[in-house]
């Protein structure tokens, strides 16, 4: 036992020595030699498809800064390049949190960019809050993340409740045009996460507020990253609903919609919340993805000069990756952080947080083009409602300012 204990002590001390041996970016009187920014993303595991886009977007935004010599920080009177550190959390919340801790304690980052998907963002955001490090994210929309009184956390993803309200506003407009029945009988199925619960909460609130427009005939949760939704869909089939209102992540959307078609379901209105127009999903689902309505944080079709410019930059940098919302949002997330640091003029964490609190950026790629955070750190930006049309086309059908086509509703054949 004694030898084992000594071996443990030696190994533990050696582990401690090795892990603490990474040098910290040197800081002379004229400021740091580089601005260190870190992010932890799901590059493997269930969310890797989206995580890969986040990495590409963060790298693109950072490359643009470094191609111009870095961030112009007036306190140091010069441009300082950005060093971007990205770790893979394997879509595991505990690993994500540990790696953010590593960014804080080992890499001594000046600021953090956010990860992706609600459960990971919920776990990881305790770290920047605890260490007072500015964190700008574009990958966790559930309002529960931002209702915890955290002071250094900011997000470009508007809340899922607002997403649900936007879809309801659109449905009301369709009802006024006699394209959808009134009240719309909704079968609500949602992933059992804060994300999904917010979606169900939004729909329930609107149904209570406007029973003449909305009636919920079924509301049931499902586990994230499911493999077989057939029992749930059979329940939906047994209920006489006009609308199938699902909130799902990308992999679940693809699986569920494939099984929706196999079960032989048809509804006048079909949505998966924010998911619908993604190229990978349309490639996988073919015609069964037609007429799906989505309320998203961004779409390539937004008629806006900033979107067009981003689209061109993205296509040039990543010709094999289609520009999705999970490319545009993280790109704008990184840009927002870099703008805040430039406006602050230093890497002082408290000052950067203060700048973010009052930041007001115009002409961005987001719908409405405006970035400004609420008191809780989450943005209150509008959504765009899109509809998939045959032959791979997607049109924006709501709001009017960004509309690019007319909605085809009810879904033909329903």
């Amino acid at each position: 036992m004694r030898r084992s204990f000594l071996a443990f002590a030696a190994a533990a001390l050696a582990a401690g020595t090795v892990v603490s041996s990474t040098p910290v970016a040197s800081r002379a009187d004229n400021g740091p030699s580089e601005v260190v920014v870190g992010a932890v993303l799901p590059l493997t595991g269930e969310e890797s498809r989206v995580g890969t886009f986040y990495k590409a977007a963060y790298e693109l935004a950072t490359k643009e800064i470094n191609d111009h010599g870095g961030l112009q920080l007036r306190q140091y009177g010069r441009k300082i390049p950005v060093k971007l550190i990205i770790y893979d959390d394997k879509t595991d919340p505990a690993t994500s949190r540990n790696l953010y801790e590593r960014l804080a304690l080992q890499d001594h980052v000046d600021a953090m960019l956010g990860g992706y998907s609600t459960d990971l963002v919920q776990a990881q955001t305790v770290v920047p809050n605890q260490h007072g490090i500015p964190y700008v994210g574009g990958g966790g929309a559930a309002s529960a993340i931002y209702k915890r009184g955290f002071k250094t956390i900011f997000s470009l993803l508007a809340s899922i409740e607002n997403l649900a309200y936007t879809e309801c506003d659109f449905i009301e407009e369709m009802q006024a045009q006699k394209k959808l029945p009134k009240p719309l009988k909704m079968a609500v199925v949602y992933e059992n996460t804060s994300h999904g619960q917010d979606f169900a909460k939004g729909l329930t609130a609107r149904a209570k507020q406007k029973p003449q427009n909305f009636q919920i005939v079924m509301s049931e949760a499902f586990d994230l990253h499911g493999k077989d939704f057939t029992p749930l869909l059979q329940k939906v089939k047994a209920i006489n609903a006009n609308a199938f209102m699902s909130d799902a992540h990308l992999d679940d959307y693809i699986t569920m919609q494939r099984q929706y078609a196999q079960v032989g379901l048809h509804h006048a209105y079909l949505t998966y919340g924010a998911r619908g127009p993604e190229k990978s999903a349309r490639d996988a689902l073919g015609k069964s993805a037609d007429y799906i309505v989505a309320a998203a944080w961004w779409n390539q079709a937004i008629p806006n000069a900033a979107v067009k410019a981003f689209d061109e930059k993205w296509a040039k940098a990543y010709p094999k990756l289609n520009a999705e919302w999970y490319a545009a949002l993280p790109y704008e997330t990184a840009r927002t952080l870099y703008i805040a640091m430039t406006e602050t003029g230093s890497v002082d964490k408290a000052k950067v947080v203060e700048t973010l609190r009052h930041i007001d950026i115009r002409d961005t790629v987001l719908p409405g083009g405006h970035i400004r955070f609420e008191a809780d750190g989450q943005i209150n930006a509008p959504f765009v409602v899109t509809e998939n049309l045959p032959d791979g086309k997607t049109v924006i059908v709501y709001p009017h300012a960004e509309k690019t086509g007319e909605a085809v509703l009810p879904v033909p054949g329903s």
């Binding site: 036992m1 084992s4 190994a11 505990a94 590593r102 529960a144």
Partner: protein, 313 residues
């Protein structure tokens, strides 16, 4: 004081000095903290899985109960000094509730049942939203300083290993060994096997309950998937296997290797840590089922067997 105890005291003193010798090496302190926490958790699992040979794949349930109980109590103004022992007790009581029926099963049937118990516990936590916050989880407002957490985890580890050492050489430990080797024969010899296994499970769960408290105070955010997840249960099994199943210090050595591989490879080389664990587990199962301690024993044995230099062949 025997030599093993003296060496253990030296190791504890050396580890206690780390925050004072290198106060700015916060990341090293963080990693050592994780080693202590995982070491205590693995030691707790080993009381049942190693000493008694009852392989459980649902032990994350006790960690989760400890974590949730502590978080809920602290959020409601209960003192930490009350919250931690109550959390341990709740985890222990839960182990009695599930242990008594589960121990009617043996071998692989027991192991399969524990998977179900772990998953059922996760689903209860996921759907008991009013108490656990459901999928949104629970967040604690603030953590004690890292150094305090470090010493709390070290104390937990020392207590767990100390308890394991005491059990190993006690009458209770011999009863567990008898259960591991042959349950029917142990019963014939007068060992109350179900009671013995239940006692081991209770102690194991209590330690994991305290570990859950430490986990919650460190991670500050807990959700059903993070603390009750199957991957947590699997990591509790992996560590003792790597270090040495059924030994006192094997789980601790397994925790050092596990944490070191995770921390070093997870950040730099994606999934190389999983590959490393896979290779290590296969190598151990095939070549040395007694783990790293078994390899060390073999090396010592080979050295002793080697004839001294100059001796006749």
């Amino acid at each position: 004081m025997g030599k093993p105890v003296a060496y253990a005291v030296v190791a504890i003193v050396a580890l206690s000095a780390v925050p004072f010798v290198a106060p700015r090496s916060e990341y090293a302190i963080e990693v050592l903290f994780l080693i202590f926490l995982y070491g205590a958790m693995a030691t707790a699992w080993n009381l049942l899985g190693g000493f008694a040979g009852q392989v459980s794949f649902g032990h994350a349930a006790f960690l989760g109960i400890g974590a949730y109980a502590t978080t809920i109590m602290i959020a409601n103004g209960v003192s930490l000094w009350v919250a931690v022992p109550v959390s341990a007790l709740l985890a222990g009581l839960y182990s009695l509730v599930i242990g008594i029926p589960a121990f009617r099963l043996r071998g692989p049937y027991f192991s399969i049942a524990t998977i179900g118990i772990g998953e059922a516990t996760r689903l209860i936590a996921l759907n008991w939203t009013s108490l656990t916050g459901g999928a949104s989880g629970l967040t604690l407002a603030g953590a004690p300083p890292l150094v305090q957490q470090y010493f709390a985890a070290l104390a937990l580890l020392v207590a767990a290993v100390g308890l394991a050492a005491w059990i190993r050489s006690s009458r209770f430990g011999y009863a567990l060994a008898a259960v591991r080797q042959d349950t029917d024969a142990a019963e014939t010899l007068g060992v109350a096997t179900t009671v013995t296994k239940t006692q081991a499970l209770f102690l194991s769960a209590c330690i994991l309950g305290v570990a859950g408290s430490v986990y919650a105070l460190h991670y500050l955010f807990i959700s059903p998937d993070s603390v009750f997840g199957f991957s947590t249960s699997i990591s509790l099994v992996i560590m003792p296997i790597i270090g040495g199943l059924g030994t006192v210090t094997g789980p601790l050595i397994g925790a050092v290797v596990y944490t070191f591989i995770r921390e070093q490879f997870a950040a730099t080389l994606a999934n190389v840590d999983l590959l490393a664990f896979g290779v290590l587990l296969i190598a151990i199962v095939v070549f040395e089922p007694r783990g790293i301690l078994g390899i060390a024993d073999r090396v010592r044995g080979m050295r002793r067997a080697r004839p001294p230099a100059g001796a006749d062949a």
